[in-house]
Symmetry: C2
Subunit: 337 residues, 2 copies
DNA sequence: TTCAAAATTCAAACCGCTTTGAATCGCATT
DNA sequence: AATGCGATTCAAAGCGGTTTGAATTTTGAA
């Protein structure tokens, strides 16, 4: 069933039928009803390819997801995606995820941009210097960066305040007398890791504390490496009295390492993890820097994307949300010594 | 840059340029070279919408992924997806994931099928009675079921031998003298859970053993519920001497519960988990029923899908792979008593 | 009644690509 | 020089929608 057949069936022109279906005002009320009824009865639905071709847009938005082992099961990601998906469904548009091997990521972007298969993209896991974003920006393709990056041109981004989150955590720890604080970071080419580390170093400096370089571990983005990082910290002498882990998965591993080592978390060592730790570690109520409303964040990014496609300047679409410190039982007074 | 402009630029007709680009034989060798060169220089790439419209196919395949919390971070899934993605990239086709809320799943299928946005689908997480599959089958839309289901018509599916896997596990346990064996299952509307449970019950029966209904726990598909299920089993009197967990995430939770309860796994209680447990539980080498080659499985499903689109009868595209029992340290002789 | 304005409807052009069926070219044969 | 045939190339007709600009009805006032 296509538009022409439906029109013939109704004894009208394609024009009228098309307009009736798309809600144009210049079509008679009774005519519209007949058309809608016939469309429903015949299960007619406009061919999206033809529609896209004629309209020059697809009503599909995308997110390219590099299939890194370390990304396996990042709960935050899926929650954000769910929010995006719901927001798009609400306006009859679609979301697709293009999963690609990291090697094929750049070509994929080119293909998508050239082919205009989607009307806009969300770029996740932004790097400090991000080729993907540079490319999209140069090509003037609508995108929202999920996380900031270094770029000369103005661009649309959504992010949580990495510096503020770390400052909150540090205030708490310093207030409890901690002086030997360690930071476990994701790879530092990731923008959030870089910003969090910078904020950490700055906070230590302004508290007049030296940063022991052995207390700075990076390249830690999954459970296993988080576990190992914590083991490494435990082997230091003196041990840090507090540890901040800048990402969820590593945090799980790190806390697990403490449990396995039989350490009394919150007394012997304090731990703060960036990211929700819901239901992952039985019995341990981890103190976290939480990014609330991941679902809403996804929806917000969709709004921004739609505004962008609608012609709003990218420079006006920049949004910084504040993380919150959720007190758990893993932070306590610094142990003397 | 579009086909017409490129053709004018070269002083040729669109026909010739199109054929040159698509590798048709009736175009002169020198002409083809000129065309390819010009295309590259001008960054020309055929508009996929127009192409799809003309060809009646999109070269895109899809998988609809219901965003269930329980699915968060299923490592198997992403590995399979990676395999599919790679296999499709190799033949210049694309994979997309359409993430939808479970409520919107059915409409999404209809929309995709009607709109022919993709040439074929993989249906994951098949249910015993699966509306999605019934719908696709009736609509004669090409699909491969990842996991079997109940359906009258012949359909293409890829699955691991659930019954065989359970039999292997049971043989091992029975051989070690276990008589009180428990099974922790995913929701039983999931086909794999149903089949595994049926096989479990059958194996118990043919060993002449009673199944204590308290030892049958279902609706367990994430870490938390796996943890709770194991706690529940530990509270039974008498306790089971062995437990089979039919899915990975629950398995993680279950083993964690044993660790937290201070139980000597493999001596006091034996555990076998269906699914790889790589690097998730520090220090515990879990005995698993493994589905090897998830990556290859994804690639195989793509092959099947391509064959299907190519006209091969669905009934001839059914593939059953064998799981293997990977011995770890969590299985031992049954404790007397 | 008559006629202009407003409300509807329509035929045709267009989006960018593939493909059919016809036209043209090159070259060996007669 | 005419003929025939394969090798190339081309114009035009789709694919299934949307939209422009003109045509047809209706409506309301004169």
């Amino acid at each position: 069933m296509n538009l022409e057949r439906l029109a013939n069936l109704l004894g009208m022109s394609k024009t009228t039928v098309s307009r009736a279906l798309n809600g144009y005002p210049e079509v008679n009320g009774r005519t519209r009803e007949r058309v809608l009824k016939a469309a429903k009865e015949n299960g007619y639905q406009a061919n999206p390819m033809a529609r896209s071709l004629a309209l020059g847009r697809t009503n599909v938005f995308g997110i390219i997801y590099p299939l890194l082992p370390a990304d396996l099961g990042d709960p935050m990601f899926l929650d954000v995606v769910a929010g995006m998906s719901a927001a798009l469904e609400a306006v009859s548009k679609n979301l697709i995820i293009a999963p690609v091997s990291p090697a094929a990521e750049q070509p994929s972007y080119q293909q998508i941009v050239r082919g205009r298969r989607v009307d806009g993209l969300v770029v996740s896991r932004t790097l400090v210097r991000d080729e993907r974003i540079a490319f999209l920006s140069k090509a003037k393709f609508p995108f929202v960066a999920h996380g900031r990056t270094q770029l000369d041109a103005p661009y649309a981004w959504f992010d949580y305040d990495n510096a503020a989150g770390i400052r909150m955590a540090m205030e708490r720890l310093l207030g409890l007398g901690h002086q030997r604080v360690a930071l476990v970071s994701a790879p530092l080419e990731l923008n959030f890791a870089r910003q969090r580390k910078d904020a950490f170093v700055a906070a230590m400096a302004s508290a007049g504390l030296e940063v022991d370089t052995r207390y700075l571990i990076d390249n830690t983005l999954d459970r296993r490496s988080g576990y190992q990082a914590m083991q490494q910290l435990l082997a230091c002498s003196p041990r840090p009295t507090a540890v901040i882990v800048d990402n969820h998965l590593s945090g799980v591993g790190a806390v697990r390492a403490l449990l396995d080592a039989g350490i009394d978390i919150g007394r012997e060592i304090s731990v703060i993890v960036w990211g929700s730790m819901a239901d992952t570690l039985a019995g341990v109520d981890v103190t976290t820097i939480d990014q609330p409303d991941a679902h809403k964040a996804g929806a917000r990014m969709v709004d921004m994307l739609l505004a962008l496609v609608d012609g709003k300047p990218a420079g006006e679409l920049q949004e910084l949300w504040q993380p919150v410190l959720l007190a758990g039982s893993t932070v306590g007074l610094a142990q003397p010594g």
